[in-house]
């Protein structure tokens, strides 16, 4: 169980911001921090990792005090044993993939962890290459593997898939889900991609201007109505075309554009760029194998 209750004054790009985070994260949970840029998501991760000092507050992890500004106790990032995947991956350019993983290991740590991780993340063919010769998705896999070498209990992922294209993203989401379960991790993920959040996370914290505005399971957070659809997808509105009495709404679902006919009253609250759920319950979808 992670308990966070901290304050921090930050100077964000649009003036000062007061970060006030209070939350609890259960052991083994995968929680996503969602919100606009500048809402304090990355800062929250950095405070938990010890890379940023809060002005005031307490962080306890499994009953151990990591931060307590009252009695000035502060555990250095070196001693927190956290896995952190940075937005830019932060792979060391002077080391090969294998050396990157070896550098992360503790003194006298069994090297089997590294061979296991290389196998699990399918890095065998890449292990003697330097990071700059790898593609974005490959670098990301190295970064994930490297974050796990020290067998952390907590994994922090700062928009890990933001820079990757759609197909590789899906694959890496599977990797994240797998390591989260196999290593029994408590994971904190920063993400903007609603599909990804629904797929991966147990709970979502929505951050607005430095505060957690809403908490809940992804489906509740991202849809106001309870839809018990037989199938449903999250998408983004691309176009609204009024035609006589109906409106044709083009929705981007992952990388497909879908047209949905809607009533004029239904689309009143919709604008281009809005996130929507496309759901249906009254018909039977048919499956064709294509690959």
């Amino acid at each position: 169980m992670i308990k966070i209750d901290i304050h921090k004054n930050l100077s964000a790009s649009d003036g000062p911001m007061n970060l006030r985070i209070k939350c609890e994260i259960k052991k083994g949970e995968l929680v996503t921090l969602y919100g606009e840029s500048g809402a304090g998501k990355t800062s929250t991760l950095r405070i938990l990792a010890g890379l940023l000092k809060p002005d005031k507050g307490i962080i306890t992890v499994e009953n151990a005090n990591w931060v307590n500004t009252k009695n000035r106790s502060y555990l250095s990032p070196q001693n927190r044993n956290i896995g952190y995947v940075f937005q830019d991956y932060a792979l060391f350019p002077n080391m090969t993939v294998l050396q990157n993983l070896e550098f992360a290991s503790k003194k006298g740590q069994n090297k089997k962890v590294i061979t296991d991780l290389i196998e699990m993340m399918e890095l065998g063919d890449l292990q003697h290459r330097k990071p700059q010769t790898l593609s974005g998705g490959q670098q990301q896999r190295v970064a994930l593997a490297r974050a796990l070498v020290r067998k952390p209990n907590i994994l922090l992922l700062d928009e890990p898939l933001a820079a990757l294209d759609y197909k590789i993203r899906l694959k890496l989401q599977d990797y994240i889900a797998r390591i989260h379960n196999e290593y029994g991790l408590t994971t904190l993920l920063v993400s903007h991609d609603i599909g990804e959040i629904i797929k991966l996370s147990d709970r979502v914290f929505v951050l607005e201007q430095g505060e957690i505005a809403r908490k809940g399971i992804p489906n509740d957070i991202f849809s106001n109505k309870k839809v018990s659809g037989k199938f449903k997808f999250v998408g983004e509105v691309l176009k609204l075309e009024p035609q006589d009495v109906v409106v044709i709404v083009s929705v981007l679902i992952q990388n497909n554009v879908v047209k949905v006919i809607a009533d004029k009253s239904e689309v009143q609250s919709l604008g281009i760029g809005d996130k929507v759920i496309v759901a249906s319950k009254a018909f039977n979808p048919i499956l064709y194998k294509i690959e």
């Binding site: 990792a49 010890g50 990032p77 956290i82 896995g83 002077n94 550098f103």
Partner: protein
């Protein structure tokens, strides 16, 4: 028969100065990159002063400070047994101060352009500042290190004013090649001056050419 002594002294001075400078400059540059101290601009100014100050100014203050005629110079002379005026030790100390910006600046800029996340990633992996510096940061700014080493070396080879004032041109002890050239010209001994000048010219040309070849990646391409 040419006297090789001034050239040997020049090389010895340059090597000793460069080694000591490298040892001093790495922590200094690291501190400058990471510090939030208010003293930073003052320290940076002091380090950069030799770039703009006439070497004679530095030499003059050096002479005044370390002359056995005053209390401080006398104290160093008697208690530590080090004579810094008109000695090789004094030359080294003056050269270190005089060439400091040429070593610190490249290392500082090399360290400052590395993404901060590299340091943070290493910290999160439980690594100390020193491990991070030597295993992660420095290996990723080798070009800057090489530039610093070479500039400091070449600059020391090319010193004139400071070594003349502090060293006093004692043959076989503090008479470096640049001073030897000056004296040979004064004595109308052009062939000797030409000899020293040619050697200095070739050495510095080769050293600088090496840097540009290595940092420009030409050698790697050639080997491949």
């Amino acid at each position: 028969m040419m006297n090789w002594d001034p050239l040997f002294i020049t090389l010895k001075l340059a090597v000793v100065t460069t080694v000591i400078l490298l040892i001093i400059s790495i922590p200094l540059a690291y501190w400058l990159v990471n510090t939030k101290s208010r003293s930073k601009p003052f320290i940076e100014t002091l380090i950069s002063m030799p770039l703009v100050l006439p070497p004679t100014v530095l030499g003059f203050y050096f002479l005044v400070a370390f002359s056995p005629g005053n209390a401080f110079g006398n104290w160093i002379n008697e208690w530590l047994g080090i004579k810094l005026v008109f000695s090789f030790g004094g030359l080294v100390l003056a050269s270190i101060i005089y060439s400091l910006p040429f070593m610190v600046h490249p290392i500082q800029s090399g360290l400052s352009i590395l993404p901060h996340s590299l340091t943070e990633a290493s910290q999160v992996m439980g690594k100390s500042k020193w491990t991070t510096l030597f295993k992660v940061l420095l290996p990723n700014c080798k070009a800057s290190l090489l530039t610093g080493i070479v500039l400091a070396f070449a600059h020391t080879v090319g010193e004139f004013g400071v070594v003349l004032m502090i060293g006093g041109s004692i043959p076989g002890k503090t008479k470096v090649a640049s001073i030897a050239i000056y004296e040979e010209v004064e004595a109308m001994n052009y062939s000797a001056a030409n000899f020293y000048a040619t050697v200095l010219f070739s050495i510095t040309f080769c050293i600088l050419l090496m840097v540009y070849l290595i940092n420009g990646g030409y050698l790697k391409r050639f080997w491949k």
